[in-house]
Symmetry: C2
Subunit: 190 residues, 2 copies
């Protein structure tokens, strides 16, 4: 299978009133999605924010876990956090993947309210199995990725549906479920 | 299908040194697991802690979302949080389920390092489909549920495995994945 990357996007996303905003990076998003990524063998996790101060803050947090007190306190946590990368925008994430793999990644957008042009998780598993390019799976914070950003994606993943019509999942939970569906062992072995 | 309940247990669980402790209730655990539970049609979510002050704190937090400023700020969040119940121990959770359904629940334990006596998620889906009793799925905080507590469970769920031998998932992510595997629509429709 090709290399697989995850990104958490803090801009451009919507707030609850449909306004395009930059959300703040949160500690729990960094940790939870890093831990899920390690579990499912993801090759890299990008935190995407245009705010320089936020990038500096996360870089400091990462140092704590990589080399600081955190590394001694909790080795497994340290391992999870060590492959987080902080970038300013999608282009920078794309360049990093390209420099690591020699190829531009296929971009896959996600969102709870996507409806047009979506592919099922099952179909995406097949695409992953056959892809020769790396894949970058993007999650939006706040109320989801902005429409034009979504439209620029190569693929869009069908939203998770439970028993209710609209899912109420946190981005951390949605990311965990999607990684399990896309990269997990499938129902035969669970 | 029978009624399905979830519980997040703060005692008895292990700390990183294998000592039995009571962990603190965290805001993000309350919200994330409540939101996943609503998404998958869970009938109730118990926060289990013997510490009276912690129970009072969570009850206050719940009021904020049910009737206070939170209810107006975010209706969907308010809906998710409104079915959280705060109890002192497993017996109290069992009594609540029994009073609501007329039957004692079947208990199902989870944990990243369980190995003996576990059933697969696939098998548990079959058990759920046939069960006439309600089911209570229990998650441990910290470094997982204490051994004797685990031994008292009717069933134990096979730990989630990704690509690595030991999973690094947060309890929030593990709960989301397990609800998707147990109560989701299955791979045909995702």
């Amino acid at each position: 299978m090709s290399k697989f990357y995850v990104a958490l996007v803090h801009y451009p996303v919507y707030d609850k009133n449909g306004k395009i905003v930059t959300t703040a990076v949160t500690n729990v998003d960094v940790h939870d999605i890093a831990r899920s990524s390690v579990t499912y063998g993801v090759d890299g996790y990008f935190l995407v924010t245009p705010v320089e101060q936020q990038r500096a803050l996360v870089t400091e947090l990462l140092e704590h876990w990589k080399d600081g007190p955190g590394a001694t306190y909790n080795k497994r946590r340290s391992q999870a956090i060590s492959f987080v990368r902080v970038v300013a925008d999608l282009s920078e994430a794309m360049r990093v993947v390209e420099s690591e793999t020699g190829q531009r990644p296929i971009t896959v957008g996600t969102g709870a309210s996507l409806d047009e042009r979506t592919v099922t998780h099952q179909k995406m598993r097949e695409i992953l199995a056959e892809a020769s390019s790396p894949v970058l799976l993007l999650f939006g914070t706040g109320w989801g990725l902005e429409k034009r950003f979504v439209d620029s994606m190569d693929y869009l993943l069908k939203p998770i549906r439970g028993k209710v019509t609209y899912n109420h999942l946190s981005v951390r939970s949605a990311a965990a479920i999607m990684l399990d569906r896309l990269l997990g062992r499938g129902l035969d072995d669970i």
